[in-house]
């Protein structure tokens, strides 16, 4: 008992210590004029621009972003469900009695998943030029792979007794699979596919920040020219769309929950996806985005073996990898530790309500814009990149924690309060302790996402592999680009393996994605 034995609640709080070096570093590099800009930015929130051209531009931008997200989401969901079934061991075992084809497909799918949509976007931009398809395909590639992984994981973890029973009774493989596993997949698909639409909207906004059009481009231009009133017009519009989307998805989930027929749910989801896919194309055309425009295909020049070796020798790997890892650790620390710390310090109803608003705003702001905003009063640095990345993910983690706490019983909290414990201690022991294990499991998954997202802030914050990638892309050094992508892919796959183990530690199953479970409940 003399050794430290940190418990899940304290392990969730300790990462908040990452805030200390990050904030100190930013405060040290805080420059004159920064405070004025910060104040102007805050004031502009209550006075967004209502000039006709600004509102019209923002309105057109949000339509482009939303329809891009809708099209890429529906396509990636349809492809993802198909590939998920194709990469499920249970499917191959039922049809052929062997599972190796599933393993091969899974391994192949791991590569597109490990590369962030922004990176896909920049690569496609080089290959086909500026086309609306760039943003769509850039989202479709990794999202298809992510949906496929969840679908196959869920299929493989379902109880197989019913399937075996049906097979023994002489049912065909397809009928047995649909009857035994199909019904339980309905709620999983519903919650996860819905969640991915929100992600696609954020992804399309981020791609816009990097010049691929839509509300992201409007936001980036307005922020760079310090037109904070225009920034807030676009941000409030984005907030309205995000909020409406969350509400609609929640209503749909509620409606579907009433139905216990999983097969009907899957059929409806697929029909809805096809309809939305078909509707988003004319919508894009309506906002002057021509999807029929011919692509200017120019394949990337493949570097020679010697050029690749030269790239490996030229780049400062230790510095690049260590700064990427440090960025991940700091951003993940901020994202994981801050929400429970804030809730513990201000557990009152008013405190929680204020925190929810702040988390909503942090989720809303695309990460590269947060980084640009921070650079209005601080120099580009690893700390700025970490805070920007951490801040966005605080929004995600905070929302998830609040939803989890709302769903759990308050019996323990009442018991400790009745025994005289202070509000903060009672919240920590009676409320947060019950959620801490699943929170840590989700935090492990989120760390994985954060590692992938370091590309986005690395480019803005001038640090890590992301920054080097944009430099190499800018100088058309394809050998460096390929080597860097390979290293980044390897890093994210290693990260995924580590976080899988952590998830197993906290939930008892690597296949059980806490996010899916949480959204289902």
């Amino acid at each position: 008992m003399s050794r430290l034995s940190p418990t899940p609640p304290i392990l969730s709080l300790l990462p908040a210590l990452a805030l200390l070096p990050v904030l100190i570093s930013i405060l040290i590099s805080f420059h004159n004029g920064g405070a004025t800009l910060l104040w102007e930015f805050i004031c502009a929130a209550v006075h967004p621009s209502i000039q006709a051209e600004v509102v019209q531009s923002a309105f057109r931008g949000i339509q482009i972003t939303f329809s891009t997200a809708l099209l890429s989401w529906s396509l990636s969901s349809i492809f993802g469900i198909c590939l998920g079934i194709a990469s499920a061991r249970v499917v191959w075992e039922t049809f052929l009695g062997k599972s190796w084809p599933a393993t091969v497909i899974r391994r192949l799918l791991a590569i597109p998943r490990s590369i962030h949509e922004l990176l896909w976007g920049l690569l496609l931009l080089q290959m086909v030029g500026l086309s609306p398809w760039v943003a769509i395909v850039a989202i479709v590639i990794p999202y298809t792979s992510l949906v496929a992984r969840v679908v196959s994981d869920q299929l493989d973890t379902k109880d197989r007794r019913a399937l075996k029973g049906l097979k023994q009774a002489g049912a065909g493989s397809s009928s047995a699979l649909i009857t035994a596993l199909g019904p339980a997949m309905g709620p999983v698909l519903l919650s996860y596919v819905g969640y991915r639409l929100e992600c696609a909207l954020r992804g399309a906004t981020v791609l816009g920040v990097f010049g691929l059009g839509g509300i992201g481009t409007d936001l980036q231009l307005a922020l760079q020219s310090l037109q904070f009133h225009d920034v807030w017009t676009a941000l409030w519009l984005l907030a309205a769309v995000m909020f409406s989307l969350e509400q609609i998805l929640s209503l749909i989930r509620g409606y579907f929950k009433l139905s216990k027929n999983g097969i009907w749910q899957i059929t409806t989801i697929l029909i809805v996806l096809l309809i939305l896919c078909a509707l988003s194309i004319p919508w894009l055309n309506a906002v002057d985005i021509d999807l029929g425009e011919p692509l200017h295909w120019s394949p990337l020049p493949l570097p020679t073996f010697y050029e690749l070796i030269d790239a490996i020798h030229t780049l400062p790997w230790i510095q690049l990898i260590s700064s990427t890892m440090l960025l991940t650790v700091l951003a993940a620390g901020i994202a994981i530790g801050t929400p429970p710390l804030a809730m513990m310090l201000w557990p009152s109803q008013l405190g929680i309500a204020i925190q929810r608003i702040i988390w909503g705003l942090l989720r809303l702001m695309p990460t590269p814009l947060t980084a640009l905003f921070l650079m209005l009063f601080s120099k580009p640095s690893l700390a700025v990149a970490a805070l920007a990345l951490g801040a966005h993910n605080i929004g995600v983690m905070g929302r998830l924690l609040k939803e989890g706490l709302d769903q759990q019983s308050d019996n323990h909290l009442k018991a400790l309060s009745a025994a005289g414990a202070g509000t903060r201690s009672a919240w920590l022991y009676g409320c947060f302790s019950g959620q801490s294990r699943s929170y840590l499991a989700y935090a492990a998954y989120r760390t994985d996402v954060i590692l992938r997202e370091t590309v986005v802030v690395g480019m803005v914050g001038g640090t890590g592999l992301g920054w080097q990638l944009i430099e190499s892309l800018g100088s058309f050094n394809w050998a460096q680009v390929i080597v860097l992508i390979a290293v980044f892919t390897a890093l994210t796959l290693i990260g995924e393996a580590i976080t899988d183990r952590l998830r197993y530690h906290w939930t008892g199953s690597t296949k059980k994605l806490p996010m899916v479970v949480d959204l289902q409940s």
Partner: protein
Amino acid sequence: MRRLLEIKGVFVHSIRGNRLNDINLSISSGERVALVGSNGSGKSSLLAVANGTLLPDLGKVIWKDYSTSNLGQRQRKEIGTLWQDLRLVEELNVAQNINCGALANRNLLWSLANLLKPIELNACSECLQKVGLSTSILSAMVSELSGGQRQRVAIARLLRQKPELILADEPLFSLDPILAEEILHLFLDNTMTSDMGEERTLLMSLHQPSFFRHFDRVIALKSGRVVFDQPSECLDDEALALIYGSA
């Protein structure tokens, strides 16, 4: 004897009728009171009203001159509750759970330190020994314990709180007769005297008539009303029929 808890004209409404219906009673220091009645008679509601977790729709509950709807931290720690579902924190070990009883007397830093590494282990060991458990289980997770051990750990947590009044909500529920007898004796023999040698007050809900003789007084509820409130020796078959009978 000094009056500790007074319940005056308490009503608690629910959709299916009144859970508590014009309850008037008082409990004095040092009393050992058994609270009896069939399922759904209002025993748990009465205990919840007594510790302030359930506010009455009408009437008052007074703990030493303070209304339980507005108790401060100092007064709340004087009332200890042994919940029917125990309410142990599954993510923590035995020592950390026992220390939950001391949260009222400590600050947030102490609470955080206890989550990092169980502290004040001597005090925890003392409580654990009083409930007949070996100190070797201090570092065990409560989720790994048997039902009987969990019950004892919850009592140890109560001892760590050092309350003046103990409210126990069916602590013998779901225990086999031998273990139930053992836990009751443990309760009455080891937990009822404070470190200062003062007798604690007990209000325990239970079903087993054979145990009523261990109490000074029996209060019986039926459909949210008090139908019997007399010394335990007055409880005869006729009274039992009144309490548990359908009429």
